[in-house]
Amino acid sequence: MTPGPLLLLASAALITSLAVGAWWSRMWLALIATAASAGLGAALRVLLGGGDWEWRSGFLPGGEPLHLRLDSLSAVFLVLVSVAGAAGAVYAREYWSERQYPASAPRGRAWWSVLLLSMGLVLTVSNGLHFLIAWEIFAIAGYFLVTLDNQRSAVRSAGWLYLAASHAGTMCLFAFFASLAGRTGSWDLGPMREQTNLAPLFWLALFGFGVKAGFFPLHIWLPSAHANAPSHVSAIMSGVAIKMGVYGIIRFSGWLPVPPAAGWVVIGLGAASALLGITFALAQNDFKRLLAYCSVENVGVILIGVGAALLAVTHGDAVWGRLALAGALLHVWNHGAFKSLLFFGAGSVLHATGTREMSRLGGLWRAMPWTAGLFALGSLAVAGLPPLNGFVSEWLVYLGLFDAVASKEPSAWAALPAAVMLAMAGAMAMAGFAKAGAMIFLGAPRTAATEHAHECGNWMLGPMLALAGVCVAIGLAPVLFWPAVARAVEAWHPAWNTAETTAPLVTLGTAQVMLAILFLAAVAWLWRKAHTDNLRRGPTWDCGYAMPTARMQYTSAPFAGITSGWFHWLLLPERKMRKPRGLFPEDSLRLERVPETVLERIIGPVGTAIMLASTTARRLQHGRLQFYILYVVAGWFALEFLVLSGGAR
């Protein structure tokens, strides 16, 4: 079947699911699954060499002819939307169930359909006006999903922040598409690399899509929205929705000419996001905020790849650009898979304990062994450790950067610091996820919050297992996924022939498989050796301390203390301390909070200043007529003066 009918089937299923979702949840799930498989089928058909799909219609919604197109670049993102959309829908069945949330569950299902449909449209429409409409519906669907639990004020304010930031981005996109249409004379989108006068528009697109992609410092909305949303929504927002911003940046840097500085700026933003995003992540105590900030890092990794590709294009179509872009595109999939997995795991923990504070958890592996294991696997993947998928994509990006350095062209000066910062970000991601996994699942329970913890049900475990499978599959057999990614790279820059690219993925895959076997063998051996009759269990030795308590364990803030100390100038932690006093001290307290620096220290004060100025200006408007007449007379005199003094000619 060609992609056309499949996409038609997908959209029909989504629209039907929108209609029946409110009252028939089983049917809704079936329809979402149908739509996802159809969308996946269409995308795979394009990616596996079925050729691009294009469809023009005489139908004129909004006065513009409908023009749909699915090429291999958008198909890469459509695969992600389909897989994560279906996984989230299955997960939500138990996580946000009808029984627990009778009011918001039906609403959530309806908006989920809208979100998937609008993301599909964003990926396929090829007309500026329709793109904007789809983009706006997508943003609004995201808003209603984030605020599903709108009884809580934190959720409402996170939602508002998301909506405001999103519209700041959309405003830029309005300007972008309008000037594009103004300069080309048509709203129709497509490759127009020859029209060099369009190059400056790239900056508008970078800002507009960048707000959605959430790179540093445009990430201000991301941590609170992703932390406060229900976890299945966090998963799709973090795993997929921010990728729409990435899609916009990649798409329009491929279709339009870019200014010469674009590569430098994008790789710089990427490196900064990677390092600073993970710095913030490491300092968090709320595990969902940690995951959200980690998305900022991963978008940074993707942008490093995209920036390197842009640099390569402006420096004589170097081969290394292909590797970097391929790594970035593969990382889009990888991040979608492991971040959704981790958010699902976080959701299960939240579901079981009701808290997002790592310092209140601990020892959950006993109650939730599956979640603990899958979270550990996701942590390994997100830290980019072999033999999982995160390593493969980071490896490709590294290879691109190393080749850029070896080329000794000016672009090497961007690739050098980017490679070092990528390495530091990787090490910090490892630290962050060692911390998250250990604080939540290991040791002794720190508070009573974990008392009633229980393993999540099959509806929640199933999607997690599936995503973990994706992580393992891409890690062990990267070569199977390469053709799809290579085709997308060619779609981005048709002058590139990816056959020349030299990434020994077969050897890497073999090495990863061998490593996996080696790991399993070593584990089996040591396990058998350790679990003999000689095995004894006792309390933690802890240097012979006789009365250890759970409160003596290391917690999240000191674990991250060393690195947070290095970045003190950026994190600006707020500390509140009440020391114990007297012989019988009553209550003492030490609170530490890491604020969202960009939001609270820059945008917040600027916003307050603007509000203050506006309030001051409003004093002019007070409803007293005689003063208004005075304004008119004063204005008239001022004009007279201007005319008489010859100022206005």
């Binding site: 020892g363 390994l380 450790l385 490892m430 060692a434 996994g437 095995l535 004894r536």
Partner: protein
């Protein structure tokens, strides 16, 4: 078939030889302090003893407490397979294998830190927090060192990268990599493997609660890591390519021995740094590698 034999032989070689290095270091330390010291083969005896002992598990520990040391050990063994050995070259070699090597070391670190957190002990938490934090700087230094080798040789494959000609960059690189070696292997001045003050340790603090075979795996892995780093350092600095086969093998062995003795001497003559100074020294190591990179760049540009 020959490849598999080759792989097994190489692995056996490095696995067997690795525990010798800590023995040599201890002997050097004893010699400086005019003591007789433990035998050079002490670690072999320890490992044999631990391997046959029973295990005491903390009641809090999950299965990960045994799994993680096994994976860490296997990751280090995998890294040993990737490491070329002077004239013998490498068993497995492909473009970008150097990154796999670095990330395998990171995997080993993640596993050790994870296992340390299993027991809920504050000391072990402290140790793993230090380990993963200082790794951020050592990782940066490692990548800078690898970049400088890559600039010098135009390659991302370990076998070709590790055959540079000696130059002014080599001295800087040697200093930088040696500092990284000390930090990564938790030697003085970053950490003291002999101390009994748990508050001041890194690696030893992480493995306080391990016993029996898992402890043996960890100790053997640590010695393997030391061997890996010394082999890497020696090959990155010495111009192996210009020597005969035998000469290269001899130079490699002599180099590793020199590094080991150097570690022993430093351990005898220096005191451990205060923890707040550790990042400074690591940043210095990073800068040394960056300077090596710049020198390499300049050499090539000529």
């Amino acid at each position: 078939m020959t490849t598999i034999c080759d792989l097994i032989l190489r692995l056996a070689w490095s696995l067997l030889l690795a525990p010798l290095l800590p023995g040599i270091i201890n002997k050097v330390k004893a010699w400086v302090a005019c003591r007789r010291g433990p035998p050079v083969l002490q670690l072999y005896y320890d490992l044999a003893k631990l391997w046959n002992k029973g295990v005491v598990l903390s009641t809090l520990a999950s299965p990960g407490f045994v799994i993680a040391p096994a994976v860490a050990w296997a990751a280090l063994a995998g890294a040993a397979l990737l490491m070329p050995l002077g004239p013998l070259g490498s068993a497995v070699s492909f473009r970008g294998d150097v990154l796999l090597l670095i990330y395998l070391l990171a995997l080993a670190r993640f596993c050790t830190a994870w296992a340390a957190m299993e027991t809920g002990s504050a000391f072990e938490g402290m140790g793993s927090a230090r380990e993963v934090s200082y790794a951020v700087l050592t990782e940066a230094a490692m990548i800078a060192a690898v970049l400088s080798l890559s600039v010098q040789t135009d390659s991302v494959t370990l076998v070709t990268m590790l055959t540079p000609s000696a130059g002014p960059g080599a001295v800087l690189l040697a200093a930088g990599l040696f500092t990284v070696l000390l930090a990564e292997n938790c030697r003085v001045p970053f950490d003291d493997p002999n101390t009994h003050l748990e508050l001041t340790m890194i690696h030893e603090a992480m493995i306080l609660d391990h016993s029996g075979p898992p402890l043996a795996a960890i100790l053997h892995g640590a010695s393997l890591k030391l061997l890996l780093f010394s082999v890497l350092l020696v090959q990155a600095v010495l111009p192996m390519k210009e020597m005969s086969q035998l000469g290269a093998a001899g130079a490699l062995a002599a180099g590793v021995l020199t590094v080991t003795v150097g570690v022993g001497l430093i351990e005898s003559l220096l005191a451990r740094l205060a923890f707040r100074r550790v990042p400074l020294l690591l940043t210095t190591a990073f800068l040394l590698c960056v300077f090596a990179l710049l020198v390499a760049w300049k050499e090539v540009a000529k």
